[in-house]
Amino acid sequence: MVPMTKPAELLQGTLDLLVLRTLELAPLHGVGISDRIEQVTRGTFVVGPGSLFPALHRLAEKGWIQGDWSELENKRRVKVYKLTSPGRAQLSKEKTNWKRVLTAVNLVLTEES
C-alpha cells in the first residue's frame, strides 16, 4: 500500500473539489472515494481517513453530499455518499474557480522578466 513516490500535499479546499468531482460520476463509499482519487491521480494524492472523514462530514454538513447507509455484497454496512443538486451547483462553481486560479498561477510562473 505504500506508494512509490511520496504523495503531494493537498489543501483542504482542493480536497473538497476532488471529492465532489469524484462523486459527480457515481456515488461511492469512503474507501471507494479514496481509491478512485489515488487511481485517477496516479498515486499523486493519497487521501487517508484522517483527511477524508473530516472532509466528507464537512461537505455533508453543508448539504453538498449526502450519505446513506447500504450493504455491500459481503454484508458489510457502509455509508455511501452521493452528490446533491446544491452540490452539483457548488461543483460547477468550484470548477470555474479552479480554472481561474490555475490560469492566474500559470501566468505568474511563465512571466517573462
Partner: protein, 901 residues
Amino acid sequence: MPWLPRTRALLRLLFTRRDVENELDREVQGYFEILVDRQVQNGVPAEEARRLTQIHFEGTERVKEKVREARTGAAFASRARDVNYALRQLCRRPGFMALAVITLAIGIGATTAIFSVVNGVVLKPLPYSDPERLVDVRLKPQDANQGNWGLSNADFFVFREQSSAFEEIGLYTIGLNSQGEAVNVTGIGEPEHVPAQSITAGVLPILGVTPQLGRVFTSADDQPDSPDTVILSYGYWRSKFGEDRSVLGRAIDVDGRPRMIIGVLPQRFNFLDKANLAMLLPMKLNRANTYLGSYNSGAIARLRPGVTLAQANADIARMIPIVLRSFPPPPCCAVKDFENLRLEPNLLPLKQKVVGNVDKVLWVLMGGIGLVLLIACANVANLLLLRAEGRQQEFAIRAALGSTRGRIAAGLLAESLILAAFGGVLGLGLAYGALKALVAMAPTGLPRLHEIGIDGRIVLFALAVSLAASLFFGSVPVFRYAGPGIGIRLREGGRSMSESRQRHRSRGLLVIFQVALALVLLVSSGLMIRTFHALTRVNPGFEAPSEVLTFRVYIPETQVKDSTTVFRIEQEISQTIATLPGVSSAGVSANLPMDGGGDLEGAFVKDRIYAPSETPLFRYDYVGPGFLKTLGTPLIAGREFTWSEIYSKVPVAMVSEKFARDFWHDPSSAIGKQIGGGPKNPWREVVGVVGDVHQDGVDKEAPASVYLPALVSFFGGDYVSRDVTFAVRSPRAASAGLMSEVERAVWSVDSVLPLSEVHTMDYYYTKSMARTSFMLVMLSLAGGMALLLGIVGLYGVIAYSVSQRTHELGIRMALGAQKRDVLKLVLTQGMSLTLIGVGIGIVGAFALTHALSSLLYGVKATDPLTFGAVTLALTGVALFACYLPARRAAKVDPLVSLRYE
C-alpha cells in the same frame, strides 16, 4: 447558502448526540474493516492484516477526533466541555470552593455596594431635564467668613427681568433649620404639621417637571392678590387622599388659610435634596413692598444654551449694582450699608450644591473597600496556587497525552471565571442586602439617599469587577504552573522532598501584599476611632441630652396675629409642661443647638470703634426664660431673662462666653455692657453670660452668640418667634407617656397646634456626629474584613508550607533539633513575611492617610500612637496565626514523618 443544512446538522448534534457519535463510530470502524478485508483478499492472514492496517490507519480515535473538530460548533462545544470539566474539578473540593466563593463575595459585594452609593449620590445626574444647565444662584459677601448667603427678593426680580445668561430663574425658601419649612394642615383628620416648600412659579418649569394630575404654578398664582393655591406631592396625595383623582379644585386649610389644590406631582419627584415633602406653595412675592436685604432664599436657574458658568457669573456681577439702585433699603439701613457688603456672585452647578462635599468621603471609602477587594483576590490567588501545586502531576500527564499548554491554562482560567461568577452573584446579593440596611440607617449628611439602588449600571459594574478579579487571581496559578516547565513535574516523582524557593516566594509575596493592605485599613479605622472619641469628649454646651425632650410648634399669623399674645401662649405652654410630674424644667426658644438653624445678624458693642464698612455678624438666638437652664447650658455670670421684663420690652440681652471673652476678656465684666444692632436698634444691656454651645456640631468651634428675648422690639415693630422649639427636662424624656402628657398640655392651651419634630436632644447630638460615625463604621468594617482575610491568608500559607516540610522537619528533629528549634524555624518564616508586610504597610499608610485628614478631629493623619498600636496588634495576631501551625510542626514525631512520603 449552506446555513440551513448546517443548522440542521448542529441541531442533530445537540439533540441526538449519542446517535451521531454511534454512527460516526460505525462508519470509521467500517472503513477500517474494509481495509482489513482487502489485505485478507491479498492473502495476508487475518491477524497480520489487522496489524498492518492499524499501522497505516493512524488510530480510529484520532480520526473521530478530527471529524469532531471539523464540525460546526465544535469550538463552542470544546469550550463548553472545558467549563464543564472545570466545574466538576471545583465541585470535587467543596470546602475550597466555598472558601474562595465566600471570600470573593465579600470583596465584590462590598465594592459593589459602595459603588452603588457613589453612583447614586455623586455620579448620577440630577433627575431633571437637561440637568447640566441647572445652576444654584447665590451671593457672597467679599468678607468670606460671614457665611454663605442666599438671594434676596430684590435680587430675584432684577435677575429675572434683566438677565441675559438665564432662561429662567426661580426662588425657593430655605427654612429656619435644615429640616426646612413646615406648615400646619387642618381640616382633614387630625391637625398635622407637615414638611412643605414655597417656590416661585418658575421653579417647576426650570426643573422640567410635569405634574401627574392638574397643573403647576403659573405667574398668576404668584400674584399677591390671586387665590391661594397648593400642589400636593405624590406621597401626601396617596396617604391623605388615597389617590383620589377628584382632589383637584378641593380646598385644604394650610396654616389657617384655605388653599385650592391645583395639581399633584409625579411619584419620582423630589425637590433637590428634600425627600418627604407634602406640598408646594407659591411664594407670592409682592414687588411693591420689597426692600433690599434679607438674603435668605435659595435660587435655581437654567442657563441659556451655550452660556457658560463664567458668563453667568459675570452677568450676575453686572446686575448686583442695578439691584441696589432698583429697590429702597429697609427702614434701618442705608443703601451704602449694602454697598459695603461688597456682594459677589457665587454660582454653582446645581448638582455640586446638592451633593456638597460628601463626594470626598465617598471616594475615600471606595478606595478603602477597593483595598479589601484586592486582599480578597490575593487570598483566592493563594488558594488557587496551593491547589495548582497539588495538581502538577495531572497537568503533566495531560500535556503528555496531547493537551496543549493553552488548553490547560484555559482550563485554569475557566475555573477562576466560575469562582468569580459565583462570587459575583453572591456578592451582588450581599450588596443588595447591605444597601437596604444602609438606606434604612439613613445616615444624615448623605444627600440623595433615595437615589441609591441597584440598577443596570451597578450590575454591569459587578460583572466587570468579577471579570477583572478572575483575570487577576486566575493568571497567578497559570503563570506559576502552566508555564513551559509543565513536563518537568512528572520527573520529580511523587511529592517534592522540599519546597522550592520559587514557589514559596510567590505565595509569600501575596501574603506580604495582604498584610500591608490590612495595615493601611486598620490604621485608617484607628484614626477614625480616635476622632470619634475626641468628638465625644467635647462639651457640647448642654447636659444629659437623653433627658431632654424637644418638639417644635408653629403659631401662624393667620391664627394669632398679635405678637404679645403669641408669646403669652408660648409662656403658658412652657409653664404648663413644667408642672407635669417628673419634669424638672421647661423652656422655649427659636432654635435648638445642632438643629441646623440659626440666624446671623449684626451686633455692635458700645464704646468700640468700628470702621465705616464693618458690620460684625454673630449667631442670634431668641429664648424664653428657663430654656438655657433646661438644656443645661451653664450660667457663667449674671442671670437669665425674666418674664416680666420681656413683656415690658426692657432692652436686655445675654451673650455667650466666647463673645464675652472676645470683647471684655472676663465674663463677669460683660455684665452691664451694651450691645446693639445699628441705628434703629436700641442698645441692649448684657444681663447674663452663658456657656458656649457648639451650635454647628462638636467638630466645629462654638460661635460667639447673642441671646435676645423671644419677644422683642426690632426695627420699629414687635417681633416674636412663631416657629419655636420647646425643651423639657425629665428622666422620662424618651417615654411615650411623657410625650402624650406634653401633647395634652399643649392642646389645653391651644387645641389647634400640632406638634412636630419630637426628639430627645440626644437625637441632634448623635446626628451632628453622624458623618464621623458613618465613616467610622464603614472603615472599621473594611479594616475588620481586611484583617480577617489577611490573617487567614497568612495562616494558610504557613500551614501549607509546614505540611510540605514535614519530611525536612522530621530529618532535623532526628538529627537533634529540639521542639523549640522547629518552632523558631516556622515562626521566623511567618514573622519575616509579616514584618516585611507591616513595614510596607506603614510606609503606604503614611502616604495614604492624608486623604483622610479632612475627616479627622483631634488627631493627626500620622498619629504615632495609632500607628504603633495597630502595628503591635497586627503583629500579635499574625504571631498567633503562625504559632498554631508551628506548634503542630513541633509536635511531629520524627519517625512518622520520615516514613511519610
